[in-house]
């Protein structure tokens, strides 16, 4: 059975921090489809549109009929482990540092046999559930889990390499004033985070939920204002070297589009917080985090942005806010590329209208802070890159994938509806 991981000891100051190394990230363009599916936690294979055959590994033409009409589709992730071995020696630096390492072949109920990393609690020949996860190089890999789970399953060292589990990690949530900070802090405490730093801008004016936030176990409220470079640098100087998961929940929003506002004042605030705030945080915390991607049990592991799903398609009633989130979305891709060498993943959590004062006149469904927090934790535990919270966000991304131009027209029809 998996041995539960112990709280990591305090760091030995005489030992060099282990430099992050990565498993091979070379893939064909077709195989990048696995990463795209893993980014959302989906188990997918290519299926042939001509003859129906499922494909493995990913390829450009059908292995049965040579058709090039291959389309990714969700596949039932169940099968049996028909072969397994434990790698004890590897020439690859990443695996060399992590042996022994279990791998095997799983015969899927859906047909193909696939290569997979194998959980320590799976017996040879046993039934397994497969998951598609991003490895440290950001590529999709299959991992075989015990069919019915096992005690401390998430603590398997091979699985932990593929996730961003908050257990025993130190968290920074950037904005205490955001109404969702209490739910986020509680969720991290429940998930076993060791410390939860919560940044507090403008400590010179009160906010209603401060006492509730301070009462959450392991929470420390620290000064942080993402619009103030000095403040961001000061906090990074203090805790940048022990921030394992950063959750950027800082957000400035006001309703309104271009012409009904008549000025650029709120727009500037929105870009200062939602775009330049992300950039300031990344400049201050990014280097230390990406340098600590292999720093043991509590290595730096993930950067989380909470974005509006209207980053994909402008909601005219919140037009400028949408634009700032579109800019943040673009910037997050830049950050993802820059963090990749450290093996630190960037996870964007997209929401539709949230349950707060700025969406108060909007009809439900709205995303409650608890639902958002739950999705953040679940996304980290699954090592995701893209999480869509709530019906509005899920529906919007579906429509965006079907056709952004049609969606743009649909959004126009919503102008003024909020």
């Amino acid at each position: 059975m998996t041995r539960p991981i112990a709280p990591p000891p305090r760091k030995n100051p005489q030992k060099r921090t282990r430099v992050p190394t990565l498993p091979s990230g070379l893939r064909s363009r077709a195989a990048l489809g696995l990463a795209a599916a893993a980014a959302e936690g989906r188990f997918m294979l290519q299926g042939c549109e001509a003859c129906g055959a499922l494909q493995y590994p990913p390829r450009d033409a059908c292995s049965t009929c040579l058709s090039i009409g291959l389309k990714w589709r969700d596949v039932k992730p169940a099968g049996a482990l028909i072969a397994e071995t434990t790698v004890r020696i590897s020439t690859n630096v990443y695996f060399r540092e992590r042996t022994p390492w279990r791998i095997g072949t799983v015969k899927l109920d859906a047909g193909p046999s696939v290569m997979a990393h194998v959980h320590g609690d799976v017996a040879r020949g046993a039934r397994v559930v497969l998951v598609n996860r991003l490895d440290k190089s950001g590529q999709g890999v299959f991992f075989a889990l015990p069919m019915d789970g096992s005690a401390d399953m998430a603590d398997d060292p091979q699985l932990r390499e593929l996730t961003a589990d908050p257990k025993f990690r130190r968290i920074l949530v950037t904005d205490a004033r955001n109404e969702n900070s209490v739910a986020l802090a509680k969720a991290f405490a429940d998930a076993g985070a060791t410390s939860i730093f919560v940044g507090e801008p403008e400590g010179w004016r009160p906010y209603p939920h401060r006492a509730a936030l301070a009462a959450v176990s392991n929470v420390a409220i620290v000064p942080l204002d993402v619009t103030d470079t000095r403040s961001v640098c000061e906090l990074a100087g203090e805790i940048g070297g022990k921030t394992d998961i950063l959750v950027n929940n800082s957000r400035f929003m006001r309703p309104g589009g271009i012409m009904d506002r008549g000025d650029t004042v709120f727009a500037r605030d929105e870009f200062e917080t939602n775009v330049l705030g992300l950039m300031r945080l990344a400049q201050a915390f990014g280097p230390a985090m990406s340098g600590r991607g292999a720093d043991g049990v509590n290595s730096a592991v993930a950067w989380v942005n909470i974005l509006s799903v209207y980053a994909y398609a402008n909601m005219p009633a919140y037009g400028v806010f949408s634009a700032s989130n579109a800019a943040a979305l673009s910037l997050s891709h830049c950050l993802r590329a820059e963090m990749a060498p450290g093996g630190v993943r960037v996870m964007n959590v997209y929401t539709g209208p949230t349950e707060d004062e700025w969406h108060q006149p909007l009809p439900p469904p709205k995303v409650a802070p608890s639902a958002l927090a739950k999705s953040v934790i679940a996304g980290l535990k699954d090592g995701l890159e893209d999480v869509y919270v709530g019906d509005v966000a899920k529906d919007l991304i579906d429509r965006w994938r079907q056709g952004p131009k049609v969606l743009e027209r649909e959004m126009m029809a919503q102008a003024g509806e909020g």
């Binding site: 400590g203 004016r205 103030d228 470079t229 000095r230």
Partner: protein, 268 residues
Amino acid sequence: MDAIDNRSADLLAQMAGAIASGGIEVVDLTHTLDQDFPVIILPPEFGQCARFRMEEISAYDHRGPAWKWHNISLCEHTGTHFDAPSHWISGRDIPHGNVDEIPVDRFVGPVCVIDCSAGAGEDEDFELTPQIIRDWEKTNGPIPRDCWVLMRTDWSKRRGAAYLNMRDDGPHSPGPTPDAIRLLVEERGIRGFGTETVGTDAGQGMHYTPPYPAHFILHGAGRYGLQCLNNLDRLPPTGAVIVATPLKIKKGTGSPLRVIALVPGKDA
């Protein structure tokens, strides 16, 4: 150039000498422009006063090898600042009502300081009333025309959340009543009114009639405001002169500024 009036030249020379020797003390009435210094908070659907921000352009590095400098951003009404008549709706048609248009001689003038620190220490909503002003005059003589009047509360010694003192029903800080401001403006003819708090009005000043009486009455009459002042406890009730020169912002309604006071020395 016309011949210099020797008498005024002598006065200036004496003053310079007295400043150099310490006979006249120069007191800084300004708070440091600091990212964490509170600004006035309005209901969030209104536009807001920008906080002071500073971004490094270079610091003797690859961005500029031999020099260090910053871009700064702030509101006209951030930190220790000057309010021009055009700041308020009542003063919008006042001639020379913007900071760039005010004659520069208005920036140097005598100051009366009314000490309300004891009262403000006991009551955070302490009001400056006509009675307090008249009592002050009994001791110090009538407030001269065209003089600055500063309300000392020692509020500048407060830090953090205690400064705005914001609660669910808004901020609580001392300030003048409408009648007190009318007395100062309409009967005494003051040049301007200054406070240690974030505005010239009391924290609860929106509940007076008219709301925000100091802003409404002062600026409606073409007078000026100074707020977020510091070190007022170092000024005598009368006899000091302040220099308060706002930036020359085109059509500006106010300006952060360095306010200094020239304070006569004490008898040895």
